[in-house]
C-alpha cells in the first residue's frame, strides 16, 4: 500500500453536481451588490475621494482631535471641562434608563397578546376569532415600532413634545418596545404548553393564565433581554439626543458645528467610556439575575 501521488481533481458530473439555485442566488447577490454600489456612488455630487485622500484626511482629523488645530490647551486635558460634561453624561444615562423602563413596561403589558401560544389554539383564548385579531394587531404594532429607527421616531416626536430628555426617552422606547415585544413573545411561544393547558382546563381565564402560568416563567429571560438591549440603547441615546437636544448628543452637535475638535474628542471619549461602563453594569446585573 505505497502512497500514490494525489490524483488530479476532475470536474464533477451528474445531475446534482451543481446546485442551480445556489448559482442563481450567488449571481443575483453579485449583480445586486454591483448595482447598489453604482446607484449609491451615482448620488455623489462631487468627485469621489480616493483611498489615499480618505487615509490622509482621517490622519489629519485625528490630529485635530488631539489638538493640532489650536494653540489652546485641549479640552480633554482640563479637569473643569470633564466636570462640565459630567452633567451631560448623567442626562444621557437617565434618558436610556427611562427608555428601557418605558419599553420594558410596554413589553410586559403587550407580549401576552403578541404570543401565538397565548392567543390561539387550545391554550389560547376561548374566543378564537377575537384572539387572532388581537394577535395580528399586536404583532403588527410591534413590527412597525421595530422597523422604524429611534431617530425617525424622534423626528416625529419633536413635533408633538417639547424637546428634552423625556422626548428622547419616548423615541427610544418606541423602537425598543417593538424589539422587546418580538423577543418576549418569541419566548412565550417557546414555552412548554402542557402546564398552561392544564391551568386552562382548570378554568383559568386569559389574564390569570398570563399572570400565573406564563409571565413568571419568562420574566427572568425578559430581564436578561432588557439588560442586553440597554447596551444597544445607550449607543443610540447619544444620537437621539442630537434631535431632541439633550445629553452628550446635543453637546456633540454643538462642538462639531463650532469645529471645537478637542471638545469633540472629549465627548467621544466620554461616549466610549459610558458605553463600556453600561456594558459592565449590564453584564454584572445579568449574572445577578442568573
Amino acid at each position: 500500500m505505497s502512497e500514490a501521488p494525489a490524483p488530479r481533481l476532475r470536474r464533477s458530473v451528474g445531475r446534482s453536481a451543481v446546485d442551480a439555485r445556489h448559482v442563481l442566488v450567488a449571481v443575483l447577490c453579485v449583480v445586486g451588490v454591483v448595482a447598489a454600489w453604482w446607484f449609491v456612488l451615482a448620488q455623489a455630487t462631487g468627485p469621489l475621494p480616493t483611498p489615499a485622500t480618505v487615509l490622509g484626511r482621517t490622519a489629519a482629523f485625528i490630529g485635530n482631535l488631539l489638538g493640532a488645530a489650536t494653540d489652546a490647551p485641549p479640552a480633554y486635558a482640563q479637569l473643569e471641562r470633564w466636570v462640565d460634561m459630567s452633567g451631560l453624561v448623567f442626562d444621557t444615562l437617565v434618558m436610556s434608563v427611562l427608555a428601557m423602563g418605558l419599553a420594558g413596561a410596554g413589553a410586559l403589558v403587550s407580549i401576552g397578546s403578541a404570543s401565538r401560544l397565548m392567543m390561539v389554539g387550545d391554550v389560547g383564548t376561548r374566543r378564537q376569532v377575537l384572539g387572532r385579531a388581537v394577535l395580528l394587531l399586536t404583532r403588527g404594532t410591534h413590527a412597525v415600532l421595530r422597523s422604524v429607527p429611534e431617530l425617525i421616531w424622534a423626528m416625529l416626536i419633536v413635533f408633538v413634545l417639547r424637546p428634552g430628555i423625556l422626548a428622547g426617552a419616548i423615541a427610544l422606547a418606541l423602537h425598543e418596545l417593538g424589539v422587546l415585544g418580538r423577543l418576549g413573545s418569541d419566548v412565550l411561544d417557546d414555552l412548554d404548553p402542557a402546564p398552561l393547558r392544564s391551568l386552562r382546563s382548570a378554568g383559568a381565564g386569559s389574564p390569570q393564565l398570563l399572570m400565573y402560568g406564563a409571565l413568571p416563567q419568562v420574566l427572568p429571560q425578559l430581564v436578561t433581554y432588557l439588560l442586553y438591549r440597554w447596551e444597544i440603547v445607550i449607543r443610540a441615546t447619544v444620537v437621539v439626543g442630537f434631535i431632541t437636544g439633550a445629553g452628550l448628543g446635543h453637546q456633540l452637535r454643538l462642538s462639531l458645528s463650532f469645529r471645537r475638535w478637542t471638545e469633540v474628542a472629549l465627548v467621544l471619549l466620554l461616549y466610549v467610556l459610558i458605553v463600556w461602563v453600561v456594558e459592565a453594569i449590564a453584564s454584572w446585573l445579568r449574572r445577578l439575575a442568573r
Binding site: V144, I165, R235
Partner: protein
C-alpha cells in the same frame, strides 16, 4: 413530556429570591429615580403639539398616494437599500477576516491565540462602541458630504460587530466534528473551511440578515448627515408640514424590513434542511 415540564417548573421556582428581588428593586428603583430627576417645570407637550399630533393621526387616513409621490418613495427606498447593501459589503470585507482573527482558530498555541484575541478584541471593541450615526458625523467631518461617508459609517462599526459575533460562532463549532477532521490530517485552514464555517453557516446567514436589517434602518436615517434616502424625504415632508407624505415613507420602511425578515427566515430553513 412530564420530565421536561418538571424541569421547567424547577427553573421557575428555583429559590433564589434574594438576588432576584434585589435586582427587581434595583431596576424599578433606577427607573423611578430617573423619572423623579426629570425637570418637570416645563410642559411636556409644546404649543401646537396636540394639533400636530391630531394632524399626523388624521393624515394616516388620507396619505398622499399620488403617482408622482410614489415614484419618489420608490426612489428613496432604493437609495436606502443601496446604502445598506454597500455598507454591508464593507462590513463583510472587514468582518469575515476579522472574525477569523478574533476567534483565533487559525493560530496554534495557547499564548499566541490569547495575544491575537486580546489585540483584535480591543480594536474591534473600540470601533463597535460608537453608534453608526456618530461614525457618520465623523466621516462627514473628515470627507465632507459624499456617499462614501455614509457607506463607511455603516461598514466600519458593523464590520467590527460582525468580527466579534461571527468569531464566536466559529469558536463554538462542535468539538467532535473538528477532532474528526483533525484526525484525518486537516490543517487549521482546512478545519475552518471544511468544518467551522459550514457548521455555523445557518447562524452566520441569520446574523448577516439581522445586521442587514439594522443596516437598512441606519441607512434610512443617513439624512442625518445630509445624504438621501427615506429619512431625507421624511425630513422634507415634515418641514413642509406634509404629514400625508409621512406615512407612505414609513410604510415603505416597514415593508422593506418585513421582506428581509421573511427572506432570511426562508434562507435559514433551506440551509439547515
Amino acid at each position: 413530556m412530564s420530565s421536561t415540564s418538571q424541569r421547567r417548573r424547577l427553573v421557575v421556582t428555583r429559590p433564589r429570591p434574594t438576588a432576584r428581588t434585589a435586582l427587581s428593586v434595583l431596576l424599578i428603583g433606577a427607573f423611578v429615580l430617573a423619572f423623579l430627576g426629570l425637570d418637570t417645570t416645563d410642559d411636556l407637550i409644546h404649543q401646537g403639539g396636540l394639533q400636530a399630533a391630531a394632524r399626523l393621526a388624521r393624515s394616516l387616513l388620507a396619505p398622499d398616494l399620488s403617482p408622482e409621490f410614489l415614484v419618489i418613495v420608490l426612489d428613496a427606498t432604493l437609495v436606502t437599500v443601496s446604502y445598506a447593501v454597500a455598507g454591508m459589503t464593507v462590513a463583510i470585507v472587514i468582518g469575515i477576516p476579522g472574525a477569523v482573527i478574533v476567534s483565533g482558530v487559525l493560530v496554534r498555541g495557547r499564548r499566541a491565540r490569547a495575544v491575537s484575541s486580546v489585540l483584535s478584541r480591543g480594536t474591534f471593541g473600540f470601533l463597535r462602541a460608537m453608534h453608526e450615526l456618530v461614525w457618520a458625523l465623523l466621516f462627514l467631518a473628515i470627507l465632507g458630504l459624499t456617499p462614501v461617508a455614509g457607506i463607511l459609517a455603516i461598514g466600519v462599526p458593523y464590520g467590527a460587530t460582525l468580527a466579534r459575533v461571527l468569531g464566536e460562532h466559529l469558536q463554538n463549532a462542535p468539538k467532535e466534528v473538528i477532532l474528526a477532521l483533525r484526525s484525518s490530517g486537516a490543517s487549521r485552514w482546512q478545519e475552518l473551511v471544511y468544518g467551522r464555517v459550514p457548521v455555523a453557516s445557518g447562524d452566520i446567514v441569520a446574523y448577516l440578515a439581522y445586521r442587514f436589517e439594522c443596516a437598512v434602518r441606519a441607512a434610512a436615517v443617513l439624512s442625518f448627515i445630509g445624504l438621501g434616502g427615506i429619512g431625507y424625504r421624511l425630513n422634507l415632508a415634515l418641514h413642509d408640514f406634509r404629514f400625508d407624505r409621512v406615512w407612505p415613507l414609513i410604510a415603505a420602511l416597514v415593508g422593506l424590513i418585513a421582506i428581509i425578515d421573511v427572506v432570511s427566515a426562508r434562507t435559514r430553513r433551506t440551509l439547515q434542511a
